[in-house]
Symmetry: C3
Subunit: 318 residues, 3 copies
């Protein structure tokens, strides 16, 4: 991932590039303590193409762009020419004439890759169906490091729907690059797919699988909760049963470490009870906030304003 | 209503705070005579959450933010995670990470109060169903003072649908804090509700009720017209009859004072005929314009940039 | 077309005014080679009213406004009070309170003229049904001049649906003011309407009509391709036949001039094959890019920032 390139997958960056992203995000977090704007991207336009509902992701990219002094060109689904049958490459080409960088979410897998075929500007994949959502995984990585102070010697549990949850897949793959142990906690019908497990094995990460959260909660450093979607179950009684088993509440946390971080990509429904919000171990709203810093870092790096860790000092003067 | 607080109801501010709002709005009106931007809120983001159609209110807040040098983060209904079942408090919390102040309109009463439970930033209620729309009432207050030169010794008539009209309810309550006489002119089926009348009585305002506009038009200083909605009548013949009785046209104004102000929260349909637009007593488009000044004042005060009347001088240098 | 006036039709400007628009666009194209912002319109708000899907036009106006240092107030169809029955003149009046200039697209012919009745600010017609879309024709004019180096002694072919294509009608009328020969290439059922042909004749332009592209391709300087819409044919077999006849592919261009410019208002479907994109004669994406410069020129001129060619020098300092 270099200046001018796209960010479509977590495979677009390696350990060193992830390190630069985290360092840059950290710098922005620090700078925003005393400032509301860091004018790195004054004069730049971000095109936002969201063909699916989104609050967090769309807002965090737009907010990131504004905090960097840039401007937003929203291209929402219902007002675009795609309805007239325009191809993704043509749309990519058109947007290149008007914006300096683009972010896209679309329900169709690899649609963003099609867009890139025509694009002359960097494009960030903000979710292409069940495929990837790399910036979310970077936010997760940043949140793990920030809340636990390190990216090694950690035991990270993933709870809930590990079969269909796009966010969990990418984040597991990304975290497996670091010396981290995994615990995958899910109903038998919602286990992590073999394809993701293969990456974990290839990276020589240790892992275990269980369907009992209370058996493992005491050894977990980070508990990453995902939503179990009702639609996945043909039998609603089965859903109701599973739902309660994987619900995190005050009771769930009694045996957990004091240093535990409870994460969730949000929106959350009943899988984390509101009573947990006040627990200092609730990290999911901090995760939202981190989305701002990480996206500021991504926009800045992709637009060539930060090329290495030494370049971060220059941000202080803006 | 102080820096950092919410504005959900007209009960969130008293006479002194209303005075500061009006003075600040007046200052902005003056400053905009020679400037297009007063950079009080440079670097601040306003999130706009409009879950219902709106032109005037949404535009006036957005325009106010831009004229103050701030930026807009639009969060329209159809692209939000509320569709995925996210709660209002969670959405409030999320928006707090990305914006500095928010404004929300939603068809459900007290939904904005739910949003505030999670919000760490000031929130302005721009209409929660049939409940409140306090900034509109402040615009009305400003318009009465500006057009009549005072907020005392006035006779103000409210015409049309006084039963269901949200704008009229809040404005009546707010105006009843001042030495003002009310005339409520409506069809028997569309009279002001007892709950609003109680506030008028508690504030010891004088009032009368009638269903004949022409009996009272000559003594009225401000005529506040509201829309009579067809949907309120089971019998369409009855609607057609009522409609014409409460229609303001050139004839209606023959017996009116020369200093009369005709107001309307807009959009207007047939209840004010277009021929009235050219009459100098037509004040409803000035009311629209005043929306800009009053919303600039609200944003500035809620974000702590003006704390008292002395603070207004500082705005001149921006 | 002067400062403060509307741009609703190509009849709103003459040869001299078109010349100023082209010169101003050219200046912006030059300035954008080294800058991302030319702050001519800092502090100004552009209201965008798009009641129909649009990518190119909406984005190019918004992008133009941002590149000029101005701000955008989007007023999308589904969140406006027009749903509540507000009239166009009232909406025009309301928008005048909040924006400095407006651009509107609406499916109803002459709806933008209605809006202007209430508007106190300049309004640009970005398409009112089958009627006009003058800024597109100016972009076409600019593209012809830029790609061919002149606006005289040219043979310009229009291909495809010449009966219903709004863009083609306005552009033909505009180009007929210059010493240009026309070749209209279409299926018999999709010929240029008599009303447009009348303007061509009145302007004493030479023209011919044919249904065979290959008979004329060798003498054409600019080939303006338009989409043939399936909906126009009752008989789908007939559509399939026509479709291929008027498709531009690599083979089509074998007999064409080396200096040919292939234009298309986009979005394109199958009428220009993707294999043509890499041909240096493909000019349609350059046309998109030119949309930015021409719209920057229009906004600047309508807001009184450039009044004549001498005024262009002042832009260099911004």
């Amino acid at each position: 991932m270099k200046a001018g390139s796209h960010l479509l997958s977590i495979d677009d960056f390696g350990i060193d590039e992830a390190h630069l992203i985290l360092k840059t995000a950290q710098k922005f977090e620090k700078l925003l303590e005393t400032k509301r704007r860091i004018n790195v991207l004054h004069g730049y336009n971000l095109a936002t193409l969201f063909f699916e509902p989104s609050t967090r992701t769309k807002l965090s990219f737009e907010s990131a762009m504004l905090r960097l002094g840039g401007s937003i060109l929203p291209v929402v689904g219902q007002t675009t020419s795609l309805e007239k049958g325009e191809s993704f490459p043509d749309m990519g080409r058109v947007i290149s004439s008007y914006a300096d960088i683009a972010v896209m979410r679309h329900p169709k897998e690899f649609s963003v890759h099609e867009l890139c075929k025509g694009s002359n500007i960097p494009v960030i994949n903000a979710g292409d169906g069940a495929n990837e959502h790399p910036s979310q995984s970077l936010v997760d990585l940043y949140t793990v490091q920030k809340s636990q102070g390190r990216l090694e010697n950690l035991t990270i549990g993933f709870l809930g729907d590990l079969k269909y949850g796009r966010a969990a897949h990418s984040t597991v793959k990304l975290l497996s690059r670091y010396p981290i142990n995994f615990v995958f906690i899910s109903h038998d019908k919602l286990k992590l797919p073999e394809s993701v497990l293969k990456v974990v094995k290839d990276n020589k990460s240790e892992y275990e699988e269980t369907d009992q959260l209370h058996d493992v909660i005491n050894k977990i450093d980070v508990l990453y909760v995902t939503r179990v979607q009702k639609e996945r179950f043909l039998d609603l009684d089965e859903y109701e049963e599973v739902k309660t088993v994987f619900q995190v509440n005050r009771g769930t946390l009694i045996d957990a470490k004091k240093s535990l971080s409870v994460m969730h990509p949000l929106p959350r429904l009943e899988e984390i009870q509101r009573e947990v919000d006040l627990d200092p171990r609730a990290t999911y709203f901090d995760q939202v906030q981190n989305g701002l810093y990480v996206r500021m870092a991504l926009l800045t790096i992709l637009l060539g304003k930060v090329r290495n860790v030494d370049g971060l000092k220059a941000l202080e003067k803006l």
